[in-house]
Amino acid sequence: MIKIAIAEPSSMLRIGLEQLLRELPDAEVVFSTDNLNALYSRINALHPDVLIVNPLLFDYTKRATLRAEFDQLPNLRIVGLITAYIESQHQRQFAGIIELNDDLQRIKSTLNQVVSSLQSDSDEPDTDPLSDREKDVLVCLSKGLKNNEIADELNISVHTVITHRKNIVRKTGIKSVAALTVYAILNNLIEQKDII
């Protein structure tokens, strides 16, 4: 689940965006505000993964160094909500950009990109073994099921299946389904007779 905070001065926009984001199964808006003071006071406690913020909320002098305002949250990804002209060098500090005309699909792919960069950026090596859910997905993959079939089988969204698959590849260092199947059998997750 991606935790999102929104800071946008226009309530029309803010509420509209919240409404749109509600349609994304893996995103949750944990906080939304129209002013910076509220944002500063709540953001440390809420630990959102992504902050969608309108740079116009910041004084012109601070706009260029907006990222530095959140230095204490190194894993926070900041997405700019652009509603008026903003210099391109100011836009560049954002991990992603949402514009007024973006549809849900576009916003979704922006958020996904931002979040996946969050995962690969982390310096901590991932030493966790596969979670139970990831093992379930792996077993389905080995049986030759496609993403949508796995989603049906495990009662989760296709998007979640893809996230699990990414994590499996990241943790094992193995990309192909054929090699993952070998992994599954070596680890006694499935029997050879189960694979097609």
């Binding site: 094992t172 260092g173 193995i174 990309k175 192909s176 054929a178 090699a179 070998v182 992994y183 059998i185 070596l186 680890n187 050879q192």
Partner: protein, 235 residues
């Protein structure tokens, strides 16, 4: 120090190889045998009728991470020789490198439970078939096409499409090698052929590196060259 100069024609071949070990796989493909004493790169190229610009180009792609040849360097080089080099590399992979790895693999899998070892050797066999298919496709379809363009000194629009074909398939080969090394490194129980496994992994890393360079030759030399011909044609 200027890195480009670290591979100058006047350099002793032995110094070049001591510095860049991966060049060792390049020499036999160009027909330059070992035992060359103190001879320089330039001398050896002349002696074995290898074009010096070609050797320099290949060596730089192999040894310098961020090397992209200039248009001038590309033009000095007989492109049909590069294709010949790539074909010889394919042959080297299929006749030497892969059988060598396969040999290691068989010894390594020997003490394992049959139901696991069959799985891994099947995986390897599939991989090998894919590699053969890919090389064959390049040799039967792509290379003849490139030779034709080069000989006619003109390119057609479909050249850009071919570039795409190159990249994708090499990535697949590297990915599969990488999958296999991770299986051997991480998931085969500790007691299975420890020494053999280290040897095999070293061979696989070397092969993977070589295939990555092989792909770079196509991406950074052949494709830009074709584009160069294209742009000339449009002028």
């Amino acid at each position: 120090m200027n890195t480009q100069n670290s591979l100058s024609p006047k350099m002793k071949m032995a110094d070049a190889i001591n510095r860049y070990h991966s060049l060792l796989t390049v020499l036999p493909r160009l027909g330059i045998p070992l035992g060359f004493g103190e001879k320089s790169v330039e001398q050896l190229c002349e002696e074995h009728r290898v074009s010096l610009p070609l050797f320099t180009l290949i060596a730089r792609v192999y040894c310098l991470e961020d090397y992209f040849p200039t248009a001038n360097e590309l033009q000095q080089c007989p492109m049909s020789d590069i294709i010949q080099y790539l074909v010889t590399s394919h042959k080297d992979y299929l006749e030497n490198k892969l059988p060598h790895i396969e040999h290691h693999l068989n010894i390594l899998l020997e003490p394992m439970d049959k139901k696991y070892s069959t799985l891994i050797s099947n995986f390897y066999a599939e991989f090998r078939k894919e590699v053969e298919k890919h090389f064959l496709y390049e040799e039967k379809v792509i290379f003849p096409y490139l030779r034709q363009i080069i000989s006619e000194q003109e390119a057609t629009e479909s050249a850009t499409y071919q570039k795409h074909t190159f990249n994708q398939q090499h990535d697949d080969i590297e990915d599969t090698l990488n999958d296999l090394s991770n299986l051997l490194l991480k998931y085969i129980p500790a007691e299975v052929s420890p020494a053999e496994r280290v040897d095999m992994l070293l061979d696989m890393y070397a092969l993977s590196n070589d295939i990555a360079k092989h792909a770079m030759m196509e991406d950074r030399i052949l494709v830009p060259y074709i584009q160069l011909l294209e742009s000339k044609r449009h002028d």
